[in-house]
Every structure is written in C-alpha cells, then in structure tokens.
C-alpha cells in the first residue's frame, strides 16, 4: 500500500500527459460555466460540481480500453467527459435539450453514453454499485477481458448495496474496480461523523479479502498507475480492487449547498493544492509543457465550452410526446 505513495514518476507518455491535462481543464471549465448557466436558471434540478476532483476520473478512465465500461454516481459530468463524451451533448443535457446525451430525460445526475460504454449517472446513493458487479459478471460470463470501473462517494460505503455487491464481486472474482472518491463529506456529514472506521480500505477491501489501497487521488499519475495495476489484475481474472482515492470538492455537495460545515482554512489549503495547477507544474518541470501551451489549451477549452453552450441553447426542446418515448422497448401503453 505505502509504496504507491511515492512521488509521481512519469506513468505516461508526454502526449498522454498533455491529453489528460487538457481533459482536466475541459472538465473544470465545463463545470464553472455550467454553474453560471445554472445561476441564470438555464439549468434546473440538482447539480453536483466536480471541480477539485478531476484527476480521479481522468487518471483512472485514462488507462481504460475503448471496450471497457464506466459507471458512476450523480456527480457524473467529469466522468462522462473523461470517457470521451463531447461537451456539446453534455451541456445540452443540462439544459434539458433533445440533443442532450440522455435526450433531456436524465439531466445532470443521469448522463449516459452507450457508445462509449458509459453506463450512467446514478442518483440513489450506492444503488449503481451492484450494477457494476453485474456488468462485470456479464464480462466474465462471456469470457471477455474487459473491466468495469465504478465510482461513488465516501457516503455510499454506508449503504448495504455496497457491501452486498463487494462480497459477491470478491467471491466470484469479477473484473470490477471500485473507486471511492473520498472527498471527506457525504453531503454535509464528514467521514468522522459517518464511518466508525476512517480507513475505508478496511471496510471496502480487508472485509472482502480483496486488494485495497488508499492513495492521493488528486495525484493523477498515481491514480493512473494504481488503476492500471487493478485493471491488469481484473483482466487476468484475479478479481476486484478497491481504491480509496482521496480528493476534495471545491464546491458544496450540490449547487444549493454553501458548505458552511467546512472551515475556510480547509478550503484554502485545498485551493493551494489545486490538482490542475500541480500537474501543470509537474509537466513543466519535466520539460513537457510551457506557458504557451497552457495558454493555447486554455483558449481551446474556453472555445469548446462556449461552443457547447451555444449548441445547447440553440438546440430544440424535446417534443412533448417524448414523455412517452423510451419507457420500454415494446410500445408503451399508458395505463390511464
């Protein structure tokens, strides 16, 4: 466990590293602009910002193959973008448009992209954790060597679904990697106030006899290396891994949460350790990145997100009869 906590050495090629940096910048910009759109009342419902946690999604999804699967909870924009969803259908979904990644039926918490093996966006805490085990069961059933990455927050560990799924996944050596995005708060309840044991690997790995590591999830290359090891084990039929990826969310639980339960010092400390700035500095030290490239990425990302907003705003609303579409494969007969 501890040997993984060493200084990040290059776990990737320069191109890959620059790609990851750009992806993190895209997610950050997407979230910040989307929040502004929310404040302009263009977006409704619940909206959970991902800012501050970008390396967890980007570093882990970054080591997957195209035919692997990803499933996550309701804080899902970052994972969808990291999996290759374009900003346009993502932003359009937030605006509830017909061109959205779920055709305006899912919203912020329910992004889906079948083509990219992105299985949602799930908003009942812990409820998707058995689904991930089921995806992995299907992979094993077919004799495939894909894997399924499953993300959830530290609050989800207190749900029964988590323990039921981990037990079966471990027992049957299913190719699933469980990644807790441990941002230390389940909505407003700190880990200290919700978990009898603070070392989550005890609850998620030791308890089920599977490998488990606690790592700095905001160290993107450490995140990538740890996930790659877990993925290799899963592909080799050695079963699941539990990764406690320690991270920090900059914003409240959702947009309506001013996060008064956190100390200002705690937040300031997190800002000083911004994972995107940190990664930019690391890549500069390696001589892989200069200010010019950062400037170029910033401009490109800005343009991409502004285009996604324009696309979303110009896109049509779903037709009203969409209410009755996509309920079932067989024609839906309203019981009215």
């Amino acid at each position: 466990m501890s040997q993984l906590q060493t200084e990040a050495k290059p776990a990737v090629s320069r191109n890959q590293a620059l790609g990851w940096l750009r992806q993190m910048m895209t997610i950050r910009r997407f979230e910040e602009r989307a929040e502004m759109m929310y404040q302009k009342q263009k977006i409704g419902g619940f909206f959970h910002q991902y800012s501050g946690q970008e390396p967890v999604a980007v570093g882990s999804i970054g080591v997957l193959r195209e035919d692997d699967y990803v499933i996550t909870a309701y804080r899902d924009h970052g994972h969808a973008l990291a999996r290759g969803m374009e900003a346009k259908p993502a932003m359009a979904e937030l605006l509830g448009k017909a061109t959205g990644c779920s055709q305006g039926k899912g919203g912020s918490m329910h992004f889906f992209d079948a083509e990219k093996g992105f299985l949602g966006g799930h908003a009942i805490v812990g409820s998707h954790i058995p689904l991930a085990a089921g995806v992995a069961l299907a992979i094993k059933y077919r004799g495939g060597d894909q894997v399924c990455l499953c993300y959830f927050g530290d609050g989800a560990i207190n749900q029964g679904a988590f323990h039921e799924a981990l037990n079966m996944a471990a027992m049957w050596k299913l190719p699933v990697i469980y990644i807790v995005e441990n941002n230390r708060y389940a909505m407003g309840t700190s880990l200290e106030r919700s978990s009898a044991v603070l070392d989550l690997t005890i609850r998620g790995a030791t308890a089920y006899g599977i490998p488990g590591v606690s790592i700095n999830g905001n160290d993107i290359e450490l995140m990538a290396r740890t996930t790659r090891e877990a993925v290799n084990r899963a592909r080799n039929g050695e079963g699941p891994t539990f990764i406690d990826a320690q991270t920090y969310r900059y914003k409240g639980h959702s947009i309506s949460d001013p996060a008064k339960y956190r100390l200002k010092e705690e937040l300031d400390e997190a800002f000083r350790n911004d994972p995107i700035i940190n990664y930019q500095n690391l890549l500069k030290e390696r001589g892989w990145l200069n200010d010019e490239t950062i400037e170029r990425f910033t401009e490109e990302v800005k343009r991409e997100i502004e285009e996604s907003i324009a696309f979303a705003e110009e896109s049509p609303e779903p037709e009203l009869d969409a209410v009755f579409q996509h309920i079932s494969v067989a024609p839906h007969i309203p019981q009215e």
Binding site: G100, P130, L131, G134, Y141, E164, M168, H326, S328, Q335
Partner: protein
Amino acid sequence: MPVLAYREALNQAMTEEMERDDRVFLMGEEVAQYDGAYKVSQGMLKKFGERRVIDTPISEEGFAGMGIGAAMVGLRPIVEFMTFSFSLVAIDQIVNNAANVRYMSGGQFAVPIVFRGSSGMAGCLGATHSHRLEAWYAQVPGLTVVLPATPADAKGLLKSAIRSDDPVVFIEHENLYGEKGDVPEGEHLVPIGKADIKRAGDDVTLITYSRSLKTTLAAAEKLAEEGINAEVIDLRTIRPLDIDTLLESVLKTHRAVIIEEDWPYCGIGAGIADRIMQVAFDELDAPIRRVYTRDAPIPYNRSLEASMLPSVGRIIDQVHDVLYKKK
C-alpha cells in the same frame, strides 16, 4: 398433452429458453445446489452448470442490481426471489434502476430481465412472508407485471417474459406450485398483455388473476346452479392491462366484480374499477364491486388468515349485490 405441475411448467419454460439462448441465466438464493426453495429450478444446475445457474448469498438488493447491470450490457438474466416478500429489500433496484434506466438514458439501454418468484398468502406465514406486491409494481411505468394462474399460462408467459426486451416482474403463487394441468410442449408462448376468458358467460363479469382464479371459478359454478352465468376473466398480465377484453365483457354483462388476494386500498381492483368506469360508466347497471383480502396485516392463525381471503361465499354475495338479488 402432457400434464405438468405449475412448478414443472416454470422449470420447462426456463430450461427451454436457456437451451435456446446462451444469454439467459438464472440467479438467486438456493436456485442451484438446493434445486430451488420451491423446487422450481430442480435439475437445472445439473443440466446447465454453475456458470448459468448461480447461487447467491442472501443479498436481494445486491443480486437484483447485478442482474440489471448484466442486462444493460446484453445478457438476459432471470432473477429469482425466494418470495416476492423479500423483493422489498430490492425494491430500489427494481423501481429506480430496472424501470428507469431505459428512460433516463434516452433509450440507449434496455433492461431485459425477469424478476420471478413466489408470492401470496400461502398459509400460516405471518405478516412478513405473505405479501402481495403486484399493485406496487404495477404502478411503475417501465415495468411489466405478470401473474400466471395455470400451469399452461405459467409456461407460456414465462417464455414470453424471458424473450421480452423489458424488465418483467413475474409473480408466481406459492399455493399454485403443485397445481396440475395440461401444458403444451415446446414453443408455447402466451402473449404478455392479453387477458384470458377462462369461463364464458353473459350475466356478470368476474375479473381476477393468480390464485384467486380457482376461487372465482368455483364461485362461478355455484352461481350457475342458481341460473347465473358468470364470465370469468383471468387478467394474466396486470401491467399493461388488457382493458379491451374487460370492456368487451362488461359491455355484454353490464356488471362486474373484481376478485383479488391483495389489500383493497389503492389496489389493482381500485385501478381497474376506475378504468372501466371512465369508459363504460353508462353501460354499468350496478356499481363495480370488489372482493379482496381484508385490510389488516396477515395473521399467523389459520382461521384468521382464511377469514380475510376472497372466498366463494364472499364472491357470491357481491355478485348478488350487482344483480340486485336479495340474500
């Protein structure tokens, strides 16, 4: 035509579908080595092996969710609940995930899964093991809810449920597992969403499903002795409801009694009565009456339990009422 017990008919349906399609598998508590708590899956482990007949721990929410995940990526799981009373701890998976994933993803994913198992007031099981949850599930858009009453329908409906591309809640009745009847061999498919007239008549329409069919048919025979010719409709599927068959019958008889083993309030009977009334109020010569399980938790004591269930006597009373016959 071979005579099979209801449980054998279910076994035959699963066996035939698993032989036909490798994507179909069975998982649940005690389905494999124990041969099924109610012996529905008897011999299937031996035939198909542990890849396709999977014993789970007692984790209903967990394995229901696993079935849904497997279905989302193309398998066709049959998930057995030892009884549907236990599906209460998996209801989040069935309602939030199975029923909604297709909708929330804008049609990108399908969930071709069957949740099946026993249900009902099987005798002295007490309040926690005697639930009838069909009305709960039938309320949810995205689910199909099927309750076979005969061995032939059990086979034909289960085969159709397994072939359905949508999540099907397939509710068997514990007291019917030993019931015997003619069951067609091989490709016997009963369409989902089609009610069946189990006894034709033109004086009154008796609408029922699952185990209450037997009681209702017995009541219809008694009524025949006094010259009342009842039509008995077995719903078979309660979502989507075959409203056309019900209306056709009511337009003929102008009277209806709904018989169900479930509680009355917010139940299937209430929903059906409403739907008939919305369309055919002027055709009704009497208010629709209902026979249901009395509105109390289910007691252990045998006589108390029996007193709550729809009975021949209670059905006849309600039929007399809609025919304005004095007792």
